[in-house]
């Protein structure tokens, strides 16, 4: 029943915490005990990633750009395959689904979104953590799942893990201002441009969420191949077994400086 009132609050919360300085909030976690040794040759099923790129104008209105989105999708797909190849994993794209399969994929994507919201709201935002999760978390607890039905998704029988990927970009255009309302109410500025990325790795046998990275302030201009690589590196930098060196606090020039 609480969900009647919770949804809006949750989303505002998510938005808000992402704008808050990082110390209050974590942005990725790995299920305890999960290791993915380099060169273990695992197959990863990539569920159709939601990639959106838009230009943000002065009012904050996102204007979708088709060629950017296409470019971003290609760049991200290529970067992903390349990075996983370096890790010794193979990425396979989920086959096009029809009928009941398509419906099942949609329901799982909706569930992944709900689980991600819960993780961000109740785990990554430390101050809002559920007591059971907080207590258990002393042992590095990260226990979330989509359930074993993920094994029935099209292509799941061909792979070990499923990767859900969502990235949403709004690039600031010239003249973009701070969002004054947010600044006014919360004393928090919203930077020009929105660069959010979410990635989750799921065990296709159990449905357990093995790893989730949710970041509302990502670097890398996904409109460019280099930038897409950077973004994917960032999304995957905490990827289990990853040997990708972390890009520590590289001062972002900020995509808003670009056209």
């Amino acid at each position: 029943m609480r969900a009647l009132f919770g949804l809006m609050a949750a989303a505002v919360l998510c938005g808000a915490i992402i704008s808050v300085p990082a110390q209050a909030q974590e942005r990725s976690a790995v299920r305890p005990g999960f290791v993915l040794p380099p060169q273990s040759g695992k197959k990863i099923l990539l569920l159709r990633p939601s990639v959106r790129v838009a230009e943000q104008s002065t009012g904050g209105m996102a204007e979708p750009r088709a060629e950017w989105t296409d470019q971003a999708r290609e760049n991200i797909d290529a970067a992903l395959a390349e990075l996983q190849r370096q890790l010794g994993n193979t990425v396979i794209a989920a086959p096009e689904a029809y009928g009941e399969d398509a419906r099942r994929v949609a329901e799982h994507q909706a569930l992944f979104a709900a689980v991600s919201r819960a993780v961000i709201e109740y785990q990554f935002f430390v101050g809002n953590r559920l007591p059971t999760k907080k207590r258990d978390n002393k042992a590095g607890q990260f226990d979330w799942s989509l359930g074993p039905d993920v094994g029935k998704l099209p292509g799941a029988d061909q792979a070990d893990y499923g990767l859900f990927l969502l990235t949403n970009d709004h690039y600031g255009s010239t003249g973009r201002k701070m969002l004054q309302i947010v600044g006014l109410v919360a004393g928090v500025g919203v930077t020009s441009g929105v660069h959010a990325g979410y990635a989750g790795l799921v065990d296709l046998k159990t449905g357990d969420l093995l790893w989730l990275n949710a970041d509302g302030q990502m670097g890398g201009d996904v409109r460019e191949p280099d930038g897409a690589m950077k973004r994917v590196r960032q999304l995957l930098e905490d990827f289990p077994g990853s040997a990708i060196p972390k890009e520590v606090a590289v001062a972002e020039a900020g995509p808003e400086a670009k056209p």
Binding site: M1, R2, A3, L4, F5, G6, L7, M8, A9, A10, V12, L13, A16, I17, V20, A24, A106, E107, H108, A110, L111, A113, A114, V115, R117, A118, E121, Y122, F125, G127, N128, R129, L130, P131, T132, K133, R135, W144, S145, L146, G147, P148, D149, I181, V182, V185, A186, V188, G207
Partner: protein, 198 residues
């Protein structure tokens, strides 16, 4: 534009940004008897739960394991006749259906359904089963339901209810049909069995 909604969101935003205010989810420890919403209703949870912070009604409180979107266990501890199950956004413009002194046990699923439908503007809500049961050592009703939420996820639910001394006592549980409902339905049933009203 729309000052009412606007200020509500602004208020939420402020709350969200205050870490101290956000730590109020309370642990409900396994085996420890607790009272619900300052009423005489008690339960002894057979496993640890979290009581979510926030107040959606005078006699209402919500517990969860993984967050309200994944498992939502809500207690209605003594709703008085003439009152809705949860607080109304606007009593005048968006009234919720009311429990009344003449409400029958068999009508409680309808009341619950109409509350969900009105509050969420749902269309797809089905009560799939209504059974007599014993609840709080009185004759009560058990019902099961399924609905499509605004986040387009199908959720399943189950509830136990009884009318005692003219007040409504009810515990409901709902969770996504995928995985979550089956995983925790027994945890909910054990809570319902542990409920006591002197």
């Amino acid at each position: 534009m729309i000052p009412r909604t606007f200020s509500a969101i602004a208020a939420l935003l402020v709350v969200a940004l205050l870490p101290s205010a956000a730590t109020a989810h309370k642990l409900r420890e396994q085996g420890v008897v607790v009272t619900i919403a300052d009423s005489a209703l008690t339960v002894a949870p057979p496993r640890d739960w979290n009581r979510l912070d926030g107040n959606i009604g005078k006699h209402v409180e919500t517990w969860t394991l993984d967050g309200g979107q994944l498992n939502d266990l809500t207690f209605f501890a003594g709703i008085e006749p003439g009152k809705p199950l949860v607080r109304e956004r606007s009593k005048k413009r968006e009234p919720l259906p009311r429990f009344s002194a003449s409400t029958l046990l068999v009508e409680l699923p309808e009341l619950f359904e109409a509350t969900y439908r009105s509050a969420k503007e749902l269309a797809d809500f089905r009560v799939t089963e209504v059974q007599p049961t014993r609840f709080l050592e009185r004759d009560g009703v058990l019902f099961r339901y399924e609905y499509v939420d605004p986040d387009e996820l199908t959720r399943k639910g189950e509830a136990h209810a009884a009318i005692i001394s003219g007040r409504l006592y009810m515990i409901s549980f709902d969770a996504p049909r995928l995985h979550y409902f089956d995983r925790n339905i027994e945890d909910y049933r054990r809570i319902a069995q542990s409920a006591r009203l002197p």
